[in-house]
Subunit: 467 residues, 2 copies
Amino acid sequence: MSILERLAEILEPSDLLTEASDTAPYLTDWRKLYRGQALAVVRPRDTGQVSRIVALASEAGISIVPQGGNTGLAGAGVPPSNGNNLVLSLERMNKIRSIDPANYTITVEAGCVLQQVQEAAAKADRLFPLSLSAEGSCRIGGNLSTNAGGIAVLRYGNMRDLALGLEVVLPDGRIWNGLRALRKDNTGYDLKQLFIGAEGTLGVITAAVLKLFPRPRERACAFVAVPSLEATLELLGRLRAASGDSLTSFELIPRVALEMAIAHVPGSFDPFPDPHEAYLLIEMTSSRENSGVTTIAEEALTAAMEAGLITEATIAQNEAQAKALWFLREAIVEAQKAPGACIKHDVAVPVAAVPAFLKEARQAAEAAQPGVLVYAFGHLGDGNIHFNLMQPKGMKPEDFTAQTHRLNRVVHDIVARYHGSISAEHGLGQLRNEEVRRYKPAIEFELMQKIKAALDPKGIMNPGKVL
Amino acid sequence: MSILERLAEILEPSDLLTEASDTAPYLTDWRKLYRGQALAVVRPRDTGQVSRIVALASEAGISIVPQGGNTGLAGAGVPPSNGNNLVLSLERMNKIRSIDPANYTITVEAGCVLQQVQEAAAKADRLFPLSLSAEGSCRIGGNLSTNAGGIAVLRYGNMRDLALGLEVVLPDGRIWNGLRALRKDNTGYDLKQLFIGAEGTLGVITAAVLKLFPRPRERACAFVAVPSLEATLELLGRLRAASGDSLTSFELIPRVALEMAIAHVPGSFDPFPDPHEAYLLIEMTSSRENSGVTTIAEEALTAAMEAGLITEATIAQNEAQAKALWFLREAIVEAQKAPGACIKHDVAVPVAAVPAFLKEARQAAEAAQPGVLVYAFGHLGDGNIHFNLMQPKGMKPEDFTAQTHRLNRVVHDIVARYHGSISAEHGLGQLRNEEVRRYKPAIEFELMQKIKAALDPKGIMNPGKVL
């Protein structure tokens, strides 16, 4: 019996896709940077089916490429081009299995869309804090497999910090039920940590127990101009202390990005009459009613202005104003789609090193590619900067794109000097899995290879990614 | 050349102990429950020495037993009795390597005493939040290796959540420098997670980068009586919300423990005129000056009293009163040393299941051992209860202790039914490493064994612990 016939015994016809027109969306990423081939796309409906599919693949020596919302930026969900693999989409496993508000936990299947989990939590008067641009289409399994970050990491941590338990189908098809809902459990190695951030190379995450938090009832949202990047560090410390460590977002927006948004994204606006080199979008939240969080923010920002740490500030006085400020943050991402090529870097350095790093990396990029536009924005509070480079005016996009490898190296070599990371929140996938070898000690790859060989000796799980 | 001669080439004479009188304290735990033998106790002064010692041991087929402050409760730091091993004490590696307040990080050697790290952080106007009874003598390497918990986990997490980077000497003696100070880094498997909580079975942690937080400036500390355990869940939810999720401690103190403290620990007192079945010690903190945290606590507790969730409450009005309330929390631990035997359980269940678990476990323990005194206290906010059993009056201590295995099973079987953990914060060591096999799926041990074999193929790292 062929592999497809055997899969047909496990799956409903509509869950086994083999026609090119059906499989095409699963064989490329949303930016169409990567393209692969597969024997089929399978869309199991429960963990038992995942188990049987993986067992079959293991026996037949066929690779498994797990896929969530296919919103990744590093190509981890796209199959290799050899075609000897199955894309395993988790999209049909999208049930909220249970929610326990008193335990502050929710148990969800890997195919749940992030926004669906946020909404289920809100309905139970709780917060699931992970939040990122793709939240309307990315899925929890992908968030776990890439250890997703986003705009609330400063307060709530990365996806790794939000997971209490996992259910995983191992590379031989067996199911590991580690769906614990415990805050403390020291009974051996913490196995779930292996699968989080492994980009599907050690098994298929099928469900998870996630942490919830009290639902925020009030937020203070401010947009401020800063006199220098150095001033942001002192400001961050003051705001963390003044807010009772309730600072949720501390996002860097450079002037160049704001201008690009105003030029290309309808609805964008300049919050201040005069231009400033750099801005921050700041948010504090409180689960307390009548928390006075806006007053707290106002007082802290007034003091910061007197201390010369900010030059202008506007604080949203209502929800509509807060949304308008956040719209600017989204618009600067959107504005990157303006005509011309863009070379992206998702890097992190210690928070305290961000100003020095940015100065050095900007100079190096401008020296390496005269006329380049440095478009560096993002999660300053986490030390995570999207250090993107836009092509010089008048250059052909393809000529600029041809410089990707060279410019990556210029930027990443500086990241390495600051003991940083060349993939802060997007993962390695097939985008950075070669390049990372230049920066990480060989001993780490050796350890990673040993783990991989121990858990997936046949190497069928998402080959060509991470390692 | 003998192994001791070769060690003498690496170490100062005072760092290589072989005389029985010198080695004795390292060969047993502080409660004298476990005892082992060793060729020598080595006390390296830097990572290079650790590396050479481990390489030598690996070559010679001698085991390494890492030891920190030797305050563990599960015997993980005590060597086996076969004597073919070295106790590797980290106590001489006790330097704070650096502190970076603007990055909210501190880099410390594994032999730093926990309190030393707390103090270094405070001096830099920062908080290192791990806090537990042994903080004056336990060491960071041990805290990491057992993923220590304590009294502030509700807000700040376990030790695992507080570590950003590690330096580890691997079982072949090579040094892995993973001392990253980054909030985000998704460049492959998160290797540090393997060593945290592994109780020294995969390598020797020699240094770590730890997270710091804004230093609390104010605290509200309250002692309340509750009408029922069920009421504590609603109270926990209200206090988390009302405090802006700044609830740091939510500790259960049963009447029986308070009485025992009053009887046996000088300075203990009853905060209320009438007795109550159960009490909570509650603390909220704020890094904000003039935070109004005491007013917030008062308002929330008044509302809770009106809702029938608490029956009496006292809020500390100054630091001396807060210290007096915390003294009671410490006294109930101390009071367990009162005459007679005590059988201890460090268990966790989902927070929402604590009331039902406690009721069922109490009934089962009392049925299994008539006259037993259930002394269940601890970190209710984390679902972590020290479910201890004190011997019936008039019974011989050794007769009660002889029931340990049987009573462990009674309690732990119920923990398992509530999908709990039989070692919430103390680890497995040699105390629970056999017993845990009854409760964890075999597939987890298989995965753990695979990891162990991959990283420590000669099995020289702390044999007989965890696995």
